[in-house]
Amino acid sequence: MPVIRTAVAPPAARRRGGIPPYIPLLIPAVAFMLLVYAFPFLSSIVTSFLDQQGVPSLSNYRRTVDLYARDIIFTLLVSVSNTAGTILLAIALAAYLRVRNSRMSRFIGHVYKLGIFIPFVVVAQMMRTFLAPHGLLNVTLARTGFIDIDSPLQLFNFSGLTFGFMWKLVPFAILIIYGGFQMIDNSYLEAARSTGAGFFAMVARILVPMNKSSILVATVLVYAQIVSCFTLPYMLLGGRTPTTITVDIAHRVTYFRDYGSANSLGVISYALVLVAAAYYLKTSVRQYRQGADNA
């Protein structure tokens, strides 16, 4: 929105001497973030490189790799495959919502949002009842003859975790990607349709190429959420192996008070999201700056 600045508009932060007004306004929030976030964040990195006597060493990382190499690989596998699955499914469903305009598609467009707002702890409890060996899913599958009633599917593992993550994150990804799809003018889709393009051609040739940024943002956010999530793997997998890094961190802390290994696992989890985090930080700061210039 164009705004005509009047002559009396006080240019931001130009004052005659004294401290600029934004300093006292920002001090409480910044001080809080430094104390409660930045300090523990840095101390997690520093502590991971110190041994029990406080001498710089890589002993924590050696122990971590010895004990948890398998879990680190498992975490990476879960995060990458679930992110890929989530984004592909979300693109397909968002494209369906965008291209089709039927009563059914509008209905799905309303109900799909349910998962977004449900916290992970509730999702975890749902999945514990739904996916249990004797849970509703297995009972239903056995009743309808898809599985043998005496050998129910064991789902408190990679598969169940995938189902749980996708149940919550596909709707989240649809929200972002569909938002991008809505920016595309109808005329593009009509033109494609008039030349005989089918659904898949429209997705591959128009919707996806014109929405790379929203798809990338969704990918980054979904991936970071999966790597960081503690609640769902902890409640669903518990002490089973393999498990995710976040569950291992909790074990090191609650059972052994082993902050060294916990922090080296933490730093490894930072490393897993590094590229995604850099992209997120870069685009967010840029977006914010652009917003500030337009205001």
């Binding site: 973030m33 409660v36 799905i108 509703l136 960081s228």
Partner: protein, 277 residues
């Protein structure tokens, strides 16, 4: 002829999609509801043999008996709500000035400040909670309500600053300039013009921080257990031994989430809604 068949195929496919979406979305919710009312449910029966509201009554404190291993959730619910209210009050007192400053002034090193507020969204927060626990243990905050409030404030402030600054930014500066030009002081302009215009956004931000606090799991797990039993903590421990009771708590926790979805989903950008659970 050809086109009718094509349309029929498309309609069938759409119907299959609709049924699949509904089954996948609602199956787990239905499972939760069934467990919350199942008094007897033996494998491999498709439905519980005996249903009733026994667990609901216990959880809501209507009946008290030790027979089924459920307890009243009211103390945990009250604690959760109190923590959330205090978290909202302090968070808003900190984030409103910060959001205002970020939206109206060109802050030198502003990029660095933004960075600080974005970091918790970009990186896993768990290692931070772990090290907070260490610091807390040293200064006696571990396992205390104030310690938990501080962790919830961390979650609240990060989101709060973004929402409040976006809100202030959306107010056209012309209105404030007009007030200033007819002689209003800065403080009066803020109080009479800026704040009322920002009220809906600020309210949304407060509701959001409130819900985030009610739902917070990971931070409370590290710094609060075993002494601070919020509702999510109670759900977690019940989940280990009593499926029915845990399902009741999970359904109670759904209420604010669904209300929130209905109330403010249009006001918020997608990434704020997600969170890092």
């Amino acid at each position: 002829m050809h086109s009718t068949r094509k349309r029929l195929i498309r309609l069938t496919m759409e119907l299959v999609l609709l049924v699949t979406v509904l089954l996948v979305l609602l199956g787990p919710v239905l499972s939760l509801v069934l467990w919350s009312i199942a008094e007897t449910w033996y494998w491999p029966h498709a439905l519980p043999q005996q249903i009733g509201l026994q667990y609901w009554h216990q959880a809501l404190g209507i009946h008290v008996s030790l027979a089924i291993g459920a307890v009243s959730i009211l103390p945990a619910l009250l604690l959760s709500i109190s923590i959330a209210l205090v978290t909202v009050l302090i968070s808003m007192a900190i984030t409103i000035p910060a959001g205002y400053a970020l939206s109206k002034y060109r802050v030198p090193l502003g990029g660095l400040v933004l960075f600080l507020f974005l970091m918790p969204n970009a990186f896993p927060q768990m290692p931070v909670f772990v090290n907070l626990l260490r610091i807390y243990t040293r200064i006696g905050l571990a396992g205390t309500v104030p310690g938990v409030v501080i962790v919830h404030m961390l979650v609240g402030i990060v989101f709060g600053v973004w929402i409040t600054s976006a809100t202030f930014k959306s107010i056209p500066p012309g209105l404030q300039d007009a007030a200033r030009s007819v002689g209003a002081t800065k403080l009066i302009t803020f109080w009479r013009i800026t704040l009322p215009l920002a009220a809906p956004g600020l309210l949304a931000s407060a509701v959001f921080v409130f819900i985030k606090s009610l739902e917070e799991f990971t931070g409370t797990f590290f710094v609060g257990l075993p002494f601070v039993t919020t509702l999510p903590m109670m759900l977690y421990s019940a989940s280990g031994y009593n499926m029915q009771f845990a399902s009741v708590i999970a359904l109670v926790m759904l209420v604010p989430s669904v209300l929130f979805m209905v109330l403010v989903q249009k006001l918020l950008r997608a990434e704020y809604v997600g969170g890092m659970g």
